[in-house]
């Protein structure tokens, strides 16, 4: 059976993997496996913006995806961006295999506040569900509480819930139920 792989890009604390594994087990009926961590290539760093190019990191994860990968989720602590946008919480191949999530802007410390694990866990769960949802072909959901709703700032991440709405849940369930669902 194909598996759901998790991979660290750079330094990722151990507690994060437990949280992600819990989320993955709850929502996606796939075995969860860990890959050895990947180092961030220098070419991904944009010195002017002091950020990392999300596209380069996506490429790195895709190149290291095992043959039996249903999905690969990369997790990084660096701040991500693309040329057009000043930052990203994460990125995914729409209806594809690879997704990445950055912890950087999910942490309270980024906003000058004391660190809080409960807040980080909640935000990370939402973003993991969001980016994984894209790999299952889901686009942004108009339902504000749904994990698939668009978040353009941290307040919007905090507004949504740690679950999919019934319509998005159903679409994911249908993907798993179908023979050629790409899983």
């Amino acid at each position: 059976m194909n598996a759901f792989y998790l991979v660290a890009i750079g330094k990722v604390p151990d507690k994060v993997w437990e949280w992600i594994e819990d989320t993955a087990t709850e929502w996606f009926p796939l075995p969860v496996r860990r890959l050895p961590p990947l180092s961030i290539p220098d070419s991904a760093y944009d010195g002017k913006r002091k950020q990392y190019q999300s596209v380069e990191i996506m490429k790195l994860v895709a190149q290291n995806a095992p043959r039996d990968a249903s999905r690969v989720l990369g997790v990084t602590d660096v701040d991500l961006s693309i040329p057009m946008l000043s930052f990203l919480f994460g990125q995914a191949q729409l209806d594809g295999t690879v997704a990445i999530v950055s912890l950087c802007r999910l942490q309270q410390e980024f906003y000058g506040l004391p660190a809080r694990d409960d807040v980080l866990r909640e935000r990370l769960t939402k973003e993991v569900l969001h980016e994984m949802g894209h790999t299952f072909g889901l686009v942004h959901c108009p339902e504000q509480k749904c994990a698939m709703s668009l978040s353009t700032h941290i307040g919007m991440v905090d507004t949504k819930s740690e679950q999919y709405c019934s319509r998005c849940s159903l679409q994911i369930a249908e993907r798993f139920a179908s023979q050629d669902g790409g899983v």
């Binding site: 693309i82 057009m84 946008l85 686009v139």
Partner: protein
Amino acid sequence: MKKSWPILVVDDEDVMCESMAAWLREDGYRVDTASNGQQAVELAKVADYAICFVDLKMPGGMDGIETMMEIHRVRPDASVIIITAYATVDTAIQAMKEGAQEYIVKPCNPQEISMLVSRILKLKKLQSENAILRKKLTRQYRHHDIITKNPRMEEILALTQEIASLRSTVLIHGESGTGKELVARAVHYSGSRAEKPFIVVSCAALTETLLESELFGYEKGAFTGANGQSKGKFELADGGTLFLDEIGDISPKLQADLLRVLQERRFYRVGGTEEVQVDVRIIAATNKNLAQEVQQGRFREDLYYRLNVIEIRLPALRERREDVPLLAEHFVNRISSELGRDVHGIAPAALRVLIAHDWPGNVRELENVIERAIVTCRNGMLDEQDFSWLQHAGPQQAWEIPDVPLGELERRAIVAALERKHGNVKEASASLGIDRSTLYDKLKRYEIAH
């Protein structure tokens, strides 16, 4: 909604194009990319892009502004958003002057782009709905609401098409209820003014002073209560058509003012000192014999000839009895569906009653009669019984008529109708088989308070 609005991203850097496209696709949009201006224009020839994000600086070939102009040549409705890393006021102004909808500096906040896209698409959706509604309206007035197989009416319909795109004034004669406004709308919506306003003014419904400010607008302070400047119907109809119903009822002063507007296409707002120029087609209508009004000195001869450039005389319904079954069928279908009643036709005996009736209130009376019959109909078919009251109320009934002048009879009928309808002019006019503006005219003439 989103999937029907494709977006194009144009940038010479692949990573910029692809990352932006991927981000927009996550939002559900169909996104294409082009690495130069030429490729973008070729794509725009095939796909109707709602939004094109175009990078300002693209080395070799067309730059962003040239690309935008070429895209606009093939897709005038596409909204172009110029992207640049080199933010200068000059380039921003140039891009906006050349027709860019927006100008953004990369990198942008995701929220900024998201709101921009959603705002533009909301506007496109409204514009598209507006165009669909306009088309529907045009179709409705062109084809559906004038129902006839009468040769004279068919000639009139052909004439409305021929004169639709002219600016010449039209004068429509016809008894109340013959469909003068419908014909005026058919002229307007069949011609080049169809996208512009069609404004109706019922001249008989207003006093001279009110009608003057209604037609020409007024300036602040022109009269007590004029708290601000207000545009009149002439200005509101600019580019379109002004339909002056019951034109035979306007005062000598307004006749003179109207003549001046028709001659010069300009006027002053009430209390104003600046001339206002408009491009308005006038269609006037009357149920009076205007030529006779001219002879009797009640209507200016010069205005009559100005208005009567193209004349349309609508026949009364009793002169086109062959249309009664067609119209009755049309009203049954429309009214039963509007009222949610399951009435699907008229029995032949009932049709004979309708054809034999003289219809002094013309098509409007027929419509009211059908509506009343549908409301009281007990099975799915209107039969003779449903119109028995019409026969009894018809001219065959022997009335006891008092020995008074004809005008007095009319006055009494109006007063009685108003009493029956508790002063409701709309209902009273329907029961008298005349339109509201005619009733207002008669109320004025007979000095009946209401």
